[in-house]
């Protein structure tokens, strides 16, 4: 057997060598062959944002890492999957670890300089738990508020939808915007209700429940009303008002596919609601006409923004929420090299435009007030053997620190 030690030794040494080489190759390969290069301005505005594409995640300060090839370790990433407009939640988790424990997927959060407030509908859909963290240090409080949201039928897919849509604090009152659903008499489509539950911040007592809007079912079975919430684009920020995008759509016939050509817009309203005063109003016709040019409305910092990302050269309109009148000249964005692949994000008085400019994925950041470009950056390939970035669309996401 002595002379056959070679077999075992050979096996072990060869395997170890291959594995070591592999580890080395994998280690040196951890940087993707792309980077985000600053063409103009400062990277300050891009803090926390990343461009993701071609298996890489790039940030403006030059950091690049690979995405993908995570299997077992994937669920253990502490960052919430960023979606288009929210995901500052991981900031909350980092800042308030014990407050957020077990509650990181609660329905709605609010944050200002003094408080962090979270609200979650319980499983029986009959009460909302409100949790308040006092940032000045006196700990956290919890209230349970009874709420009539009326459990939808179990087989209704909307049963799983978020029902606390928004939460705001005005002085000592907490406002919960709750969407409910109940059956209409006589088997028609369900009725959706939008109610503001006003709760006293100190005592947790329900002060008032004000219904903002209720859908009215149409006798025509092919006509449907959908209500979309237009809330402040930054989920956690205080916002004194909220809007509802109410569209009544008729399908052409029973066999009509749900494609756009077969749908006819019968009615369109945008209803605004002010939390503090309780006023509701309809956006006047002039404003509606402006929006009818195919623009999607968004609320940010108390102003109504409207733009269509799919335009090759979109205009960003800034309108007054009450009157629908423009507050400033629309901002014209660069012409996209690839229609339809673009995302625009509003944040803290800045407008982020992620598009393909001259074949290259580019981000341009404008300061809204001055209309000046505060940052412009593009993705570059660092290794000419790798796939070209031409016409590759990169997702613009908030990733946090």
């Amino acid at each position: 057997m002595r002379r056959r030690y070679g077999y075992s030794i050979g096996l072990a040494v060869l395997s170890a060598a291959v594995l070591a080489a592999y580890a080395g190759a994998a280690g040196s390969d951890s940087n993707p062959p792309y980077k985000l290069v600053t063409l103009e301005g400062s990277t300050e505005a891009m803090k926390g944002f990343v461009l993701e594409g071609l298996g890489s995640r790039l940030s403006a300060d030059g950091r690049r890492e690979r995405t993908g090839s995570l299997f077992l370790s994937a669920p253990f990433d502490d960052l919430i999957q960023p979606d288009r407009y929210s995901s500052e939640r991981n900031q909350l988790i980092i800042a308030h670890r014990s407050f957020m424990r077990g509650h990181r997927q609660d329905e709605s959060f609010y944050r200002d300089g003094n408080f962090v407030i979270g609200a979650d509908m319980d499983d029986s859909l009959s009460s909302v738990k409100i949790r308040i963290l006092d940032l000045a240090g006196s700990g956290s409080k919890e209230f349970t508020v009874p709420v009539r949201a009326n459990a939808a039928k179990a087989d209704n897919p909307l049963y799983q939808d978020k029902t606390v849509l928004d939460i705001q604090r005005i002085e000592n009152r907490i406002h919960l915007l709750v969407r409910g659903q109940h059956d209409s008499p006589g088997n028609g489509p369900a009725i959706w209700t939008f109610t503001d539950y006003i709760v006293d911040k100190e005592s947790g007592e329900l002060l008032q429940a004000e219904e903002i809007y209720q859908t009215v079912p149409d006798p025509d079975p092919y006509t449907e009303t959908s209500v979309e919430l237009i809330a402040e684009v930054r989920e956690l920020e205080p916002s004194s008002s909220v809007m509802l995008n109410v569209k009544t759509i008729k399908r052409k016939g029973p066999d009509a596919a749900r494609s756009e050509q077969d749908l006819v817009l019968k009615d369109w309203r945008i209803i605004g609601y002010d939390y503090a005063s309780g006023d509701t109003w309809d956006l006047p016709k002039a404003g509606m006409d402006r929006l009818k040019q195919g623009l999607a409305p968004r609320l940010h910092e108390g102003k109504l923004y409207a733009f269509n990302e799919r335009n090759a050269e979109p205009l960003i309109h800034v309108l007054d929420t009450r009157t629908g009148e423009p507050l400033a000249e629309p901002l014209k964005l660069d012409r996209s090299g690839s229609a339809g692949l673009r995302s625009i994000r509003l944040e803290k008085g800045l407008i982020y435009d992620n598009l393909i400019l001259n074949k290259i994925p580019t981000v341009v950041v404008y300061e809204e007030k001055t209309r000046k470009v505060v940052y412009r950056g593009a993705v570059e390939r660092t290794d000419s053997d790798s796939q070209s970035v031409d016409y590759q669309y990169f997702q613009f996401n908030y990733y946090g620190e």
Binding site: M1, R4, Y5, Y7, S8, L11, A12, L14, S15, A16, V18, L19, Y22, A23, A25, A26, G27, D29, G55, R66, G68, S69, L70, F71, L72, S73, P75, F76, D77, D78, I93, R97, R101, G102, H103, R104, Q105, D106, D385, Q387
Partner: protein, 277 residues
């Protein structure tokens, strides 16, 4: 130390033919599979060229090249099937590496237990040998992909080739579950896997010491641990979990380290005092 190495050699040597067989089978199936996949793809493309009246260069312009990781389309099972067989074989040998000493005409277990050396060396050497088999198959897989890259380079026309590094290619395949490119993935998969091997080893010794009751206890504990870890993994995605995902991971790792220590300690004790030849 020398005794330990000799024991490891003994175990590796006894298994050499089976290991060679597994390696040969894996290589053959995966390499032939690639040839077949390339043949099918090229045939399909040639068909498309004649139908659409394109030249190869025009095709490449319009549809982009095909990197190695994507040649597989419908035939990826040619890659995964041998891996499953290898896993099954090694999994079976976790048990056979012990039981083969007991059963058979010769009672080799007598000889092993009577060796004038610590019996714990038996446990450790069998574990080492098993891990060597696993990592040698891991290394083989990397080697096979490297050979496949050469086969790809020789057979695919230049216009359709998308040159990628070895690591890049593996990263894009399902294969990366078994040959991870990230260190923490590797540690998770193979670290947790090793601890399960230790749990099974000790279960086998429990059976050899306490017969059916021992077997049941060992299997129950191992299954319980598996379920606990799976539960923790699932919890990491739930927002209502009281532990953050990073904390769950730390807890899972702590649990596995504890189990490793427990298995080793119990295995050693059983070998010393309770195992019957």
């Amino acid at each position: 130390m020398k005794t330990y190495l000799k024991l490891v050699h003994l175990e590796i040597y006894r298994f050499r033919l089976v290991l060679l067989g597994l390696m040969a089978m894996t290589s053959a199936i995966q390499l032939i599979g690639l040839q077949l996949a390339m043949r099918d793809r090229l045939q399909a493309i040639r068909g498309q060229l004649t139908r659409e009246g394109l030249s190869l260069a025009q095709y490449a312009e319009r549809y982009n090249g095909i990197p190695l990781g994507e040649i597989w389309s419908h035939r990826e099972s040619w890659m995964t099937f041998p891996i499953v067989i290898c896993i099954g074989g090694i999994g079976l040998y976790i048990f056979l590496i012990w039981y083969r000493d007991w059963f058979g005409r010769s009672a080799f277990v007598y000889r092993l237990l009577m060796l004038p050396h610590s019996r714990f060396l038996l446990y450790v050497s069998k574990f080492t040998a098993l891990m060597t088999f696993v990592f040698s198959l891991f290394a083989l897989q990397i080697g096979i992909v490297a050979v496949q890259m050469t086969m790809y380079r020789l057979r695919m026309p230049d216009e359709l080739r998308v040159p990628r590094t070895l690591v890049d290619t593996i990263r894009g395949m399902d294969l990366v579950l078994f040959i991870p490119v990230r260190l923490h993935e590797f540690l998770l998969v193979y670290g947790f896997g090793s601890v399960f091997v230790l749990l099974l080893f000790t279960t086998i010794l429990m059976e050899r010491s306490y017969r059916f009751k021992g077997l049941l206890a060992g299997l129950a504990y191992t299954a319980g641990t598996l379920m606990l870890v799976a539960w923790m993994w699932a919890q990491a995605e739930r927002g209502t979990a009281l532990l953050y995902p990073s904390e769950l991971l730390a807890a899972a790792i702590a649990l596995m380290l504890l189990n490793a220590a427990l298995s080793l300690w119990l295995g050693r004790w059983l070998l010393r005092t309770k195992v019957a030849a």
